[in-house]
Amino acid sequence: MYATERWGKRVNSKRPVNLDITTIKLPLPAYTSILHRISGVILFIGLGFLLYGLELSLASEESFDSLKDLLSAPLAKFVIWGILSALIYHFIAGVKHLLMDVDVGDGKESGRFGAIVTLVLSSMLIILAGVWVW
C-alpha cells in the first residue's frame, strides 16, 4: 500500500519530466521529422511567392516577360531554389511517411535506413534543382 500511495503521489505532483529537446540525444529519424516540419512551414510561406509568380505569368504577355526578367536575378533564383528544396524534401519525407503508414520502414533499423535514404535522395534532387534553376 505504501508503494501505491507513493506512486500515486508522484503522479499527481512532481513527476520528473525531461522534454528539453536540447539535452536529449535524438535518433536520425527525429531530425528528418523536424526537417519535414520546417520544410512544411517554408512551403506555407513560399506559396505566397509562387502565387505571385503564377499571377504575373498569366495576367498578360508583358507581365509574363517581366516575371522572366525578375527570375533572372540571383536573389529570385535563390528564393525559387529554396522553395523547390523545401518541396523536394517535404515530398520525399512525405512518401516515406505514407510507406510507414503501411508498415514499411517503421522499425528501429529500417527507420534509420529510411531516414538516410530520405536525406541522400533529397540532397541529390536539391542539387539537381539548383542546376536547373541556374
Binding site: V41, E61, F64
Partner: protein, 122 residues
C-alpha cells in the same frame, strides 16, 4: 494541457486521413507541373496561358489549392499545439497559440481566394 477544440474535424483519425489524401493530390500536382516546366525550357506565354485555359487544369489547380488549405491547416495546427503550449509558454499559452492559428487560417484562405482570382482572371 492542450484542449482539442481548434483541430479540423474534432477527430484525429479524420485529420490523419485528410492529411494523406491531400498529400497525394499535392504530390501528383507538384510532379506534373514541375515535369511540365522541366520538359518545356524557354516556355512562351501563349503556350503557358493555353495550359491554364484548359478547364481540367483550372480544376486540378483549384483542387491543389483547397488541398493545401486542409493539408497546411492540419500541419500548422499540429506544430502550433506542439510548440506553443503550456509547457513552453505557461498557462496562458492559448493567447499565443490561438492568434498563430488565426493568422495561418487567414493566410491559407486568402491563398485559395487569390488562386481563384488568378485562374479565372478576375
Amino acid at each position: 494541457m492542450v484542449t482539442n477544440i481548434t483541430n479540423l474535424s474534432r477527430s484525429g483519425l479524420y485529420d490523419w486521413m485528410l492529411q494523406r489524401l491531400t498529400a497525394i493530390v499535392l504530390g501528383a500536382y507538384s510532379v506534373i507541373l514541375l515535369g511540365y516546366l522541366v520538359m518545356n525550357p524557354g516556355l512562351q506565354f501563349s503556350q503557358w496561358a493555353e495550359l491554364f485555359d484548359d478547364t481540367w487544369m483550372r480544376i486540378f489547380t483549384l483542387l491543389a489549392l483547397i488541398s493545401i488549405l486542409a493539408h497546411a491547416w492540419v500541419g500548422m495546427w499540429t506544430i502550433s499545439t506542439d510548440y506553443f503550449n503550456d509547457r513552453a509558454f505557461g498557462s496562458k499559452s492559448v493567447l499565443i497559440r490561438f492568434p498563430v492559428q488565426i493568422v495561418c487560417f487567414i493566410a491559407l484562405f486568402s491563398y485559395v481566394i487569390w488562386g481563384v482570382q488568378i485562374l479565372w482572371g478576375l
